[in-house]
Symmetry: C2
Subunit: 216 residues, 2 copies
């Protein structure tokens, strides 16, 4: 299974491409914005596609032509200008969904925010709310498709090393989780079709990621 | 027919409430953000509801309980912070749509932007694109409902007096149009059920608004 990773150059993305490269069943194709990011991924043995998430759906669909799954882990993050929040976290995400459809790629994994419900929008601090809104509508767009999607809602992301110890369910208590563990959760989701049409929150906990995914 | 106008305190909104008050078949209810805006509308003989578009759907639905139609002509405008673009032009609009559904109000008129297609997003100047994205998703949300909607796409808005001379069709050439004429187009749309499930662009032209709406 060949996996196109939007946001490959982000921290979760880099962990994910490394994990995919170590797995016999998977191949990685890194979708990155800048030519100068390419060598890093080529050195890892991954394919590369240069794609701007503010660009055309057609370019994204072309990058998806030879793959079996799409992962969206790009993000302007909550701290960029709010123009990027709407252009990347919402519209960029939706364009990758449409690109997957155009390229007949059924499998799609979205890295969302911990809670993107209407209630979460209304209770978010003013500076964070636009990001939650953007992720809310991207998630809604994906749920409304026929894609074999999985929506992963991670807790507060940290840069600690992965511990392979998580709590994972439709709803869990708010908490932290290392980015490396989220990359691992994406990997296990790709390997387990039981995650199709499901969404779940993930924080650090007491199960291995393999067990947590299997007992979803 | 009683009409709840979101964005009543805006320039199109004020023209619209005045026009509604002069029409025998219609009554106006002005949805406004601040208590101190209320007297203006009460003096005109309109009902008033204080509603914050960044607030809860339930409050909007309550304001819509006693009306027969909802008009959304609120807008942060293209020149506010991009956080307001996503919170008001997108999420605020969607919440009024959900509020209309909750309150069992079938008729809904959306004042959109001239062109909110995917092509328009991709070709918009960088500073304007987030606004087009916000309006795009609000329009898409409305099209996906069972409401009796009309989506009006006005040309570049001016503050000139209305001329009651427009060109109005699914697609027209880009041009200017007075805000007062757009208020008049909303009024005629409310009075003509032939506009239900339709959307059209409007610029200044050579037909009266009554004729243009009738020959849609």
């Amino acid at each position: 299974m060949k996996v196109l990773v939007f946001g490959a150059n982000g921290q979760i993305g880099k962990h994910l491409v490394s994990l995919i490269r170590k797995n016999d069943k998977l191949e990685a194709k890194a979708a990155i914005r800048k030519e100068e990011q390419a060598d890093y991924f080529k050195d890892l043995g991954a394919d590369v596609a240069i794609v701007n998430l503010e660009g055309e759906i057609e370019d994204m669909a072309k990058a998806a032509e030879d793959v079996d799954a799409v992962v969206f882990t790009a993000g302007s993050g909550p701290n960029t200008g709010k123009d990027k929040t709407i252009m990347v976290d919402l519209d960029g995400a939706v364009k990758t969904i449409e690109a997957a459809k155009q390229a007949n790629v059924k499998r799609y994994i979205m890295i969302s925010s911990f809670d993107t419900t209407r209630e979460a929008i209304q209770s978010a601090p003013e500076s964070f709310a636009p990001y939650v809104v953007a992720k809310h509508y991207a998630d809604e767009w994906l749920r409304d498709t026929d894609l074999d999607y999985t929506i992963i809602h991670p807790g507060a992301l940290t840069n600690e090393a992965g511990k392979n110890q998580v709590e994972l369910a439709e709803q869990v208590e708010r908490g932290e989780v290392p980015r490396e563990d989220i990359a691992h959760v994406i990997l296990e989701s790709l390997l387990n079709d039981s995650t199709i049409k499901k969404e779940f929150q993930v924080v650090s906990g007491n199960s291995t990621i393999e067990d947590a995914i299997r007992s979803l």
